[in-house]
């Protein structure tokens, strides 16, 4: 009896491990193709790099933030790919990080799930100047991924259907 239980336990582990590996491979392959798609959308801007933000949907709201530098005399394009999102999220772009109470909301993107969305630094600068009523420009931006709560999500034991990622590819005008 003891041996049978051990055997069953090991079987379960093997199945679980194999399934995890398969799902992981599939997930990574999808990310790679989404990165390629997002990169294509950058043109004619020059590719500068990418940042994949991974997360697990939980029963409560989460925020993940990515800081991006904007240098003088350079225009940037950001390509967001949401095709690895099992649920929708909101993207908010700010001039300061999330600890700053006086930060300015420059752009909100809803409905990213299943899509590729482009944002350019020129529109963010226009919003910034209008809000500040100044001639200044953005030296960096903070991209906040607002990960919406999912009722029934298993917070401590995430499943593949609760895992998500946003692919962000950045480009600059040469």
């Amino acid at each position: 009896m003891k041996k049978t239980l051990t055997l069953l336990g090991l079987f379960s582990f093997a199945i679980l491990f194999a399934q995890t590996a398969t799902n992981l491979t599939e997930f990574k392959e999808n990310i790679a193709s989404q990165k390629a798609e997002a990169k294509t959308q950058l043109k004619p801007y020059r590719f500068d790099g990418s940042k994949v933000t991974y997360f697990n949907f939980k029963t409560y709201k989460q925020v993940k933030e990515v800081e991006i530098y904007l240098f003088n005399n350079t225009d940037y394009r950001f390509s967001f790919n949401g095709k690895s999102l099992p649920n929708d999220i909101t993207i908010e772009i700010y001039d300061k990080d999330k600890t700053q109470g006086d930060r300015i909301l420059l752009k909100t993107i809803d409905g990213l799930q299943g899509k590729n969305v482009l944002v350019e630094s020129s529109e963010l600068n226009d919003t910034y100047r209008a809000a500040k009523n100044s001639k200044g420009r953005l030296k960096r931006v903070f991209v906040d991924y607002i990960i919406t709560p999912v009722p029934g999500a298993v917070n401590k034991k995430p499943t593949m259907k609760e895992r998500g990622a946003v692919v962000l590819v950045m480009g600059y005008k040469n």
């Binding site: 041996k3 055997l7 090991l10 079987f11 582990f13 093997a14 199945i15 679980l16 491990f17 194999a18 399934q19 995890t20 590996a21 398969t22 799902n23 992981l24 599939e26 990574k28 790679a32 020059r46 590719f47 500068d48 790099g49 990418s50 940042k51 994949v52 933000t53 991974y54 997360f55 697990n56 925020v63 993940k64 933030e65 990515v66 800081e67 991006i68 530098y69 240098f71 003088n72 005399n73 350079t74 990080d97 500040k132 100044s134 001639k135 200044g136 030296k139 960096r140 298993v154 401590k156 034991k157 995430p158 499943t159 593949m160 259907k161 895992r163 962000l168 950045m170 600059y172 040469n174």
Partner: protein, 295 residues
């Protein structure tokens, strides 16, 4: 004996299940994949790492973008300014190899953007050699990069596209192999070299305000480079001196009066340091660059 027979049977059955599962086309998405509770193996921990990015993250610009910005600001090509490729033999520790991988990447970008392709080719060769030493030979293993470089050596645009490909391959390789923490080390080398090339040109041509402004602007990245270097996964590399030196540069810069005035003025578009401030910053950068390139 009984025990070993049982172990053999279990191994065979588990392997059979693994093969069946890996080869299957149907992936039931409702299957719970408990990567936390099946932990206890390194691979499961890696799965969990992959699926949960840090709450606060950042993107550092590529060496090509930094070189491009400096060039647009008026930076001239100075053939004596770059680090000599033959110094590569001196880099025997992992930290030196990674830092100088970054230094040579910045030098290559600088040469290519200034249409010095033959010089750029030398840097591609040393980058390839260093990549092999720091476990990234896969990025360069097909030799196609060098062939493409040689084929397009007269075509600046094609060489720039090739540099972007190298950057993308490196980024992908590091992501896939959980080496992101090392990116900050490469970048620390690239940043120091980029700043040094700016300082070198500005010292000889102080009328180039654009270069001076760009040196000041690139300082904004330093805080995140230091954070990246301080990642506990970099602990085994004797990296403390580098963090201390870069921290000292950042603190000195932040205490400059021009810097404080700049951040207090919402209309300020450019940060311009005084001559004394530039000289102080330049000396710190040159000292750090010498430490890195001397190995």
């Amino acid at each position: 004996m009984k025990k070993s027979k049982l172990a053999y049977k279990l191994f065979t059955l588990s392997a059979a299940f693994l093969m069946l599962s890996c080869g299957g086309e149907n992936h039931d998405e409702t299957n719970e994949v408990n990567v936390v509770d099946t932990a206890g193996t390194g691979s499961d921990e890696n799965f969990e790492d992959l699926f949960e990015s840090p709450e606060i993250d950042y993107h550092l610009p590529s060496p090509l973008q930094v070189a491009s910005i400096f060039k647009k600001s008026g930076l001239s090509y100075n053939s004596d300014a770059t680090s000599k490729p033959d110094l590569v033999e001196n880099y025997t520790t992992e930290l030196n190899q990674m830092l100088n991988f970054g230094v040579y990447s910045a030098d290559m970008a600088y040469c290519v953007l200034n249409e010095q392709s033959n010089e750029g080719r030398k840097y591609l060769q040393v980058i390839t050699d260093l990549a092999e030493k720091i476990g990234m030979e896969a990025v360069f293993e097909n030799k196609d990069l060098m062939e493409r470089f040689d084929t397009n050596i007269e075509d600046k645009d094609s060489i720039e596209v090739l540099m972007i490909d190298i950057h993308e391959r490196t980024e992908m390789y590091m992501d896939e192999n959980d080496m992101q923490h090392q990116q900050a080390v490469h970048f620390a080398g690239a940043w120091t070299e980029g700043m040094y090339l700016g300082v070198y040109d500005f010292e000889n041509n102080p009328e180039k305000d654009g270069v001076g402004t760009q040196i000041a602007e690139q300082m904004s990245i330093l805080g995140n480079i230091i954070k990246g270097l301080a990642d506990p996964k970099n602990d085994g590399m004797d990296i403390e001196w580098l963090i201390a030196d870069m921290g000292s540069i950042e603190n000195t810069f932040n205490e400059f009066e021009s810097v404080n005035n700049y951040y207090e003025d919402p209309d300020a578009e450019e940060l311009v340091l005084t001559t004394v401030e530039y000289n102080t910053l330049s000396e710190l950068i040159k000292t750090l660059r010498t430490k890195i390139t001397n190995g």
